[in-house]
């Protein structure tokens, strides 16, 4: 198959950037989208042109490293599929394909299709954990968890942190990402002691990073390669409101001072 690719090219973070047209021929339908780009890069290199920078690592849909907005859709046209698992058989011979990086204020472009997603890490650092040290712990069977609850927590925990939800949202909001982490831990008994501190801190960090607000458009859910439901956003909002009503004294600080 033959394709015309319109690819966003940008030399560095401060560069202007523009779409550049590339053509590629002889592509088998069994190649993945990223393998097609590998091949393009081979050809560009041999011709003495700069290859296209893009992120990828595991290439089996779980590390969350790959990105790309393909024809206006994060991770391309297929539902529940990351770019690395998208195959060229889903395109038609001769198609023109537009490839852009994630577009969001909180994800600045570093080069071509590579963006900086460390804002996500800072949201997690603000509270996306249960505070435990390494060492002996009680036997897990002393704390039974209903299988449905464990499954629902896993539905949220399955988030790969790729950022498609942000790229899909017209507001550039990171609500689905943040809600997935808040819900994963908030559903489980282990996550209860820090449930409200966690949601407050994570939401505040999310806002500080420059992500937009949620206006219930639902684009995030449609773009999520792991099918994470927006019901988790509702859940996070409920927890957030409850946390606001809780006693404002930071008892943690006091405990530290003792």
């Amino acid at each position: 198959m033959k394709f015309i690719l319109r690819i966003w090219r940008q030399d560095h973070a401060k560069g202007a950037g523009a779409f550049v047209r590339h053509e590629i021929d002889g592509i088998s339908g069994d190649l993945s989208f990223l393998e097609m780009l590998d091949l393009l890069n081979e050809q560009l290199t041999v011709r003495g042109e700069a290859p296209v920078a893009f992120d990828s690592d595991c290439r089996e849909g779980v590390c969350g490293m790959c990105s790309l907005v393909i024809n206006g859709r994060p991770h391309g046209p297929n539902a529940l599929t990351t770019t690395c698992q998208l195959y060229m058989r889903h395109f038609r011979d001769g198609d023109e394909i537009t490839i852009e990086p994630w577009r969001a204020r909180a994800f600045p472009v570093l080069r071509d299709l590579v963006v900086d997603r460390t804002a996500f890490d800072r949201i997690l650092e603000a509270g996306g954990y249960v505070s435990v040290h390494s060492g002996p712990k009680p036997d897990p069977n002393s704390m039974p968890v209903e299988p449905e609850v464990a499954e629902e927590a896993l539905d949220a925990a399955t988030c790969i942190g790729c950022g498609a939800c942000v790229a899909a949202c017209p507001n550039g909001a990171a609500m689905l990402f943040t809600a997935a982490k808040v819900s994963h831990l908030g559903l489980l008994p282990q996550g209860q002691p820090e449930r409200y501190v966690r949601v407050t801190r994570m939401v505040e960090q999310m806002e500080a990073e420059g992500f937009g607000g949620c206006t219930n458009l639902g684009e995030c859910e449609g773009a999520c390669p792991k099918g994470i439901s927006i019901k988790f956003i509702g859940r996070m909002n409920r927890d957030y409101y409850r946390s606001v009503l809780k006693e404002p004294i930071d008892r943690r600080g006091r405990m530290g001072a003792q």
Partner: protein, 637 residues
């Protein structure tokens, strides 16, 4: 090079506890004075960095990905072993230990493996405390499944994404330590060399992958958690970024490299299709619990699988290994699949594939039950191949998957360079010549959460902190060498891409040093690798410059090191004149075609020492088997 494994005296069951009781510690007030570098944020690295940070050490942590959460441990699917014995099926620490020693074909150190089995239970407890949502039974208790090579159910799992959930648990603890200032995280930063001053590891040289800047970090100890090197085969189940640079550079600086030829070829991956394919995707071994492996009995039988009657199906694992059936260890399953395909019985376009069939399990349990067990694996298979495994059997074929070989470490996980540690897949320690399923996660986390944070204190406490700074002359020299190497790569300006060399190396290694090996093949590889390397340095084309985000340059540096390292692998495979576990030398097999060990000459660890400008020197660490008796593995009766 002196190999002292430092295995504590006393009975096997008491070694670890006695060791912890007797080693030196660093007190809580002194810990913040000591700094430790941790390279890699997979299960081992993230667990170690977070544990050390929580203890109060100053930790500098590095990964080449854009976030620590992306390390390739995330792709582990099936589960993690622990000898909890919840199923009342006779499991115990001793049994997990014995299974691991036998599964590794008697090429691992008993004391390390026993400790691993002991610590396995605490890992599950630790992960659950972090919020890892393991599968539960209806009463709320943890669920188990079985895995290859064992007769008990001791594997804990989260659907088919156990590695992801365990890594998110470990990196969430890491995130907490970053937040509290105990760990400084450096994502998109790649290690390019280790700095040794007066015989001790003192730091590393790194390249910022965004700005291209090369700089140094000094510390009181360096921990490598940099994973395995199966990308030497180009097509493997590893992530694209996985590489050998950290451990290979450590070897050049004096660390012994142990058993480099021990690489595991996983039996159940999706077969390679097209010539431009970039990786192989694993289908979890847990599928062999319900899937039956078969090929047509007749050569070149092109009928669709559903039309092949039962009598004409060759369930080769069940027939050859009635006791374990489809659940034989990985090396046995992989070799048998290759053998039937070599005989012309293979299926699919290339003839290199076998069926993994769920028909009987679906008839027995219903599609719903099977769907619940393997939902995401079925989905993944369907996405890649465009075929539905509920209706037609999967096609699978072995793929390079895990490196049992790695830097030699003593009982404390320290390499032969004082102050340099290797943990997780980067070391050689616990899996011998073949790793059992669901044991990689267990080993990486035992190393990272429970072993290294304790043993490293013994080393640190014996030395003052902050003795050497990054402005030391050795750092400047190492940095200059890294810059020189980078310039050389950029200045060749030949005609061939890095990828084309990587593919060629991979094909050669898969043919000559893959599922089976022979003297002739290995000698041929040892002739061809230097030729390919010479061609690489003559004709590679690396576009772009040094001071920028340059993925071609990253790849070129990794491939250059793989080209050097491949030779060491072949040399090791050639020197080990026996078959054991995944190392199958055609010259050394039983009449039934099984591995034939030579315990007289090779019940040892091969440890290679780098020699400037000369052939690497071989040392051997003898292995004594006192708790488990040396015996031919038997998965048949």
């Amino acid at each position: 090079m002196k190999l002292d494994a430092k295995v504590p005296p006393g009975p096997l069951r008491e070694k670890w506890d006695a060791h912890v009781d007797s080693i030196r510690l660093v007190g809580p007030r002194n810990r913040p004075r000591y700094s430790v570098i941790v390279v890699g944020t997979g299960l081992a690295g993230a667990a170690a960095a977070s544990s050390l940070g929580a203890l109060g050490y100053q930790v500098e942590c590095f990964c080449f990905q854009d976030s620590p959460r992306r390390a390739h441990s995330i792709a582990a699917q099936g589960g993690i072993n622990a000898s909890k014995g919840y199923r009342n099926d006779g499991d115990s620490v001793m049994r997990l230990f014995t299974d691991t020693i036998k599964g590794g074909d008697f090429r691992a150190r008993e004391a390390n493996v026993y400790r691993l089995a002991q610590l396995s239970m605490g890992i599950i407890d630790q992960a659950v405390a972090q919020g890892v949502p393991f599968a539960r039974e209806y009463g709320g208790m943890l669920a188990n499944r079985s895995f290859g090579g064992v007769l008990v159910e001791r594997t804990f799992y989260c659907r088919g994404e156990t590695g992801q959930q365990l890594l998110l648990g470990a990196t969430s603890s890491l995130a907490k330590e970053i937040h509290e200032g105990h760990v400084r995280m450096h994502p998109r930063t790649e290690i390019l060399d280790i700095v040794v001053v007066d015989g001790r590891a003192r730091g590393i040289v790194v390249r910022d992958l965004v700005s291209g800047a090369i700089s140094s970090y000094a510390a009181d100890a360096v921990v490598l958690a940099t994973g395995g090197y199966c990308n030497v085969f180009f097509l493997s189940t590893m992530a694209k970024g996985c590489n050998v640079t950290a451990t290979y550079r450590a070897w050049r600086r004096g660390a012994g490299f142990a058993n480099p030829c021990f690489t595991q070829i996983h039996p159940t991956a999706i077969p390679a299709g097209s010539e431009h394919q970039s990786k192989l995707t694993l289908m979890s071994e847990s599928l062999r619990n319900d899937g039956r492996v078969w090929v047509p009995r007749k050569q070149g039988d092109k009928r669709p699988p559903a039309e092949i009657p039962e009598a004409e199906r060759y369930y080769f694992l069940e027939e050859r290994y009635p006791r374990f059936g489809n659940l034989v260890p990985r090396d046995v399953a992989a070799r048998n699949a290759k053998e039937v395909c070599d005989k012309g019985l293979g299926v699919g376009a290339t003839g290199y594939g076998v069926y993994l069939d769920f028909r009987d399990a679906i008839q027995r349990l219903g599609v719903k039950v099977i769907e619940a067990r393997y939902h995401n694996l079925f989905e993944m298979y369907e996405r890649i191949t465009n075929e539905d495994p509920r209706k037609a059997p999967m096609r699978i074929y072995p793929a390079p998957h895990y490196a049992m070989g790695g830097l030699w470490v003593d009982y404390n996980l320290m390499t032969t360079i004082p102050g340099l540690y290797a943990i997780g897949e980067a070391n050689f320690s616990d899996h011998g010549a073949n790793r059992l399923g669901a044991s990689a996660l267990m080993q990486a986390l035992a190393d990272g959460y429970f072993i290294l944070p304790v043993t490293i204190a013994d080393y640190l406490s014996r030395n003052p902190s902050g003795e050497v700074k990054a402005d030391h002359a050795e750092f400047k020299r190492a940095e200059a060498e890294v810059r020189e190497r980078t310039k050389r790569l950029l200045s060749v300006n030949g005609k061939r891409t890095v990828l084309s060399f990587h593919r060629e190396l991979g094909q050669l290694m898969l043919d000559k040093c893959g599922i089976t090996r022979s003297r002739d093949g290995l000698e041929e590889a040892l002739r061809k690798i230097p030729e390919l390397r010479a061609q690489f340095w003559r004709d590679v084309k690396v576009p772009g410059g040094e001071g920028e985000l340059n993925q071609s340059l990253e790849h070129a540096g990794r491939v250059a090191d793989l080209l050097d390292f491949a030779e060491l692998m072949c040399l090791d495979a050639l020197t080990r004149e026996e078959s054991c576990g995944c190392h199958f030398r055609e010259e050394h097999q039983t009449e039934e075609g099984e591995t034939k060990r030579d315990d007289e000459r090779f019940a040892n660890v091969s440890v290679w020492e780098y020699q400037e400008g000369a052939r690497p020197r071989l040392h051997q660490e003898p292995l004594a088997f006192e708790a488990v008796h040396l015996a031919q593995r038997n998965y048949k009766t």
